[in-house]
């Protein structure tokens, strides 16, 4: 066995979720991505002496809602602390965070790997604020600072070391992205930095229950980088151990250009944050009413939809996952499935027709040109055999999108798409075809069963594709 296969990876994550509140965490300047540099600042985010922070009710609510979704304990009493470090895009010289009394403790995030579900334990969630942005590439000897991001509200979600592979890390981040979007607390956009993670990676021999020494890879802002960084780092650690060395606990930087993790050139004492209680912010005490109100407003969660689609609508794993991808899609599907009474057909229509169209047109599902009644009528036409599946999808559907005010039945009539499912009428056609090809009938009777397709084709041709294929097949088999 290759040494790599004798080891198991143990990974814990620290995920930073940038909240999409209107204003910042501790001041009323705007929280929005992509504004002109230094136009969304005020004395608090600039760190001016004497400027006093005030927390944002929406940040507290977002944190509690995420905690409720994950099944965390919501701390009734919380406080804020100052975490000190020196950096040019942190003008106050400290970050406001929750070191001792975080908003949520414990919880679990269900993640899906292939068709398997597993739960990852959450250690805690705390509230904090983002720093500004430094631009280093403009000149040789200076950095330029934009403080629009300074003070943007963050939630840090810290997982237990329950993840065992880059695939599981990927699944965790996808599930987290999906969840914050369901809750509407963040856009979860990794490219814009709304979701970032630090990975704590260690390795151990398979079967061991001891944790190895871990290294922390900082600030991975894309899943591709995270995967490569973890793969590289775990191999580095295994190679080290196999050569008789030891892993030294340290903070690492991953360079996407070289694919290599390397220690940050910092002295041992650099991480002395000198935490102390933030005197400018009084503690928070949440009432039961506060928490209960948010609990009542909690949406159906992705894994709850998934389970319902599997169990109640009898959909496949793939369809269930796809339709629970976004809250809006899940609710829309559920409505269509209930009203039409045909879950599977509704799922197919949504996946193959409605979603591609709405994505292409960049329109929300609620603005889809056909309403639920029309969609149900459309599905009913197929179900009753009034219009064939292929005629409905290929001809009636595009026509409906062209004239969204028409009823599907009227349009199908106008387009001459109604199936010939009158038995007498069809029987006549079938008899004619059978009489037309006596040698093929003989061949069929002598065992060339593949000729059934030929007869089917002839009947369909004769009826201009409007015959119900199931009925044609039954009639043909009788005659032959």
């Amino acid at each position: 066995m290759h040494p790599y296969e004798q080891y198991e990876l143990v990974i814990g994550l620290e995920v930073h979720v940038q909240l999409s509140t209107r204003s910042k965490a501790f001041s009323a300047d705007e929280n929005a991505f992509g504004a002109e540099p230094n136009t969304q600042v005020d004395p608090v985010s600039l760190g001016h002496p004497g400027a006093l922070p005030r927390y944002n009710r929406a940040q507290v609510e977002s944190a509690v809602r995420l905690g409720l979704a994950l099944g965390s304990q919501i701390a009734r009493r919380q406080s804020f602390d100052r975490k000190h470090y020196f950096y040019t895009d942190l003008p106050k010289g400290y970050q406001i965070t929750q070191d001792r009394e975080p908003v949520c403790v414990g919880g679990r995030l269900p993640i899906r790997i292939g068709e398997r579900w597993q739960e990852v334990r959450i250690h805690h969630i705390h509230m904090e604020e983002d720093a500004g942005k430094s631009l280093h590439d403009r000149s040789e000897s200076y950095s330029l600072i934009d403080l629009n991001r300074a003070g943007v509200p963050l939630l840090e979600v810290v997982s237990e070391p329950d993840l065992r592979s880059p695939e599981e890390v990927d699944a965790f981040m996808s599930a987290m992205r999906q969840l914050v979007r369901y809750l509407g607390i963040s856009d979860g956009n990794m490219e814009e930095g709304s979701l970032r993670c630090d990975c704590n990676v260690s390795v151990r021999k398979r079967g061991s229950d001891q944790l190895g020494t871990r290294c922390e890879i900082k600030n991975l802002n894309s899943m591709r980088y995270a995967r490569r960084a973890i793969e590289f780092e775990s191999r580095r650690q295994i190679d080290l151990l196999e050569q008789g060395g030891q892993v030294v606990q340290q903070t690492l930087h991953f360079d996407p250009a070289t694919g290599v993790t390397s220690p940050l050139r910092s002295k041992e004492d650099a991480h002395d944050y000198r935490y102390f209680s933030e005197p400018d912010l009084p503690p928070i005490e949440l009432s039961d009413e506060f928490v209960d109100e948010l609990r009542r407003a909690s949406p159906t969660l992705p894994w709850e939809w998934y389970r319902r689609f599997r169990q109640e609508n009898d959909l496949s794993d793939y369809d269930s996952a796809l339709l629970s991808e976004e809250s809006e899609i899940a609710a829309y599907f559920r409505e269509l499935a209930t009203q039409s009474g045909q879950a599977k057909a509704a799922a197919n229509l949504l996946i193959n027709k409605i979603l591609p169209h709405s994505r292409q047109e960049r329109m929300p599902l609620t603005e889809f040109p056909l309403d639920l009644t029309q969609l149900c009528d459309f599905l009913a036409l197929i179900e009753a055999g009034t219009v064939s599946h292929s005629a409905a999808y290929q001809q009636l559907w595009p026509a409906l999108l062209e004239s969204p005010d028409r009823s599907p039945l009227d349009l199908a009539k106008q387009l001459n798409l109604l199936q010939v499912s009158n038995v007498d009428q069809l029987e006549e056609v079938v008899e004619k075809i059978v009489a037309q090809f006596p040698d093929k009938v003989k061949a069929f009777r002598n065992g060339k069963k593949g000729l059934l397709g030929f007869f089917m084709g002839e009947v369909m041709k004769a009826t201009q594709g409007k015959a119900d294929p199931k009925m044609v097949k039954r009639l043909l088999e009788g005659k032959l």
């Binding site: 209107r22 204003s23 927390y55 929406a58 004492d269 009084p282 928070i284 005490e285």
Partner: protein, 102 residues
């Protein structure tokens, strides 16, 4: 706590301050005096006394999530020691870039 050269040097690096030898000596003396004064508190029995972290007993002083007018950019940059266009300009610190917490 013992105030010695090692501690002064650590504080210097944490605060990114560069002191002269003279200043270091002065700081050692000053810090020792400050701590000595605070240590007087150890004479009191504080068991059973809750630590005072805030002057008032206020709770939940939150804001509603509303945007108020931002500071004008020129005002924001006005007191900066150095600027370049719409940005604050600072000495380059890229080597420590990833060293900070996130």
């Amino acid at each position: 706590m013992n105030i010695d050269k090692a501690l002064i040097s650590k504080l210097e690096s944490l605060t990114r301050l560069q002191l002269t030898e003279e200043e270091r000596l002065q700081l050692e003396v000053d810090l020792a005096a400050i701590l000595q004064m605070v240590e007087k508190m150890n004479d009191l029995d504080t068991s059973g006394v809750e630590p005072l972290t805030h002057i008032t007993s206020e709770l939940n002083r939150w804001r509603e999530d509303r945007v108020e007018e931002a500071l004008d950019r020129e005002m924001a940059l006005k007191n900066a020691p150095d600027r370049e266009g719409p940005f604050f300009r600072v000495p380059k610190v890229i080597e420590l870039d990833d060293d900070r917490p996130s």
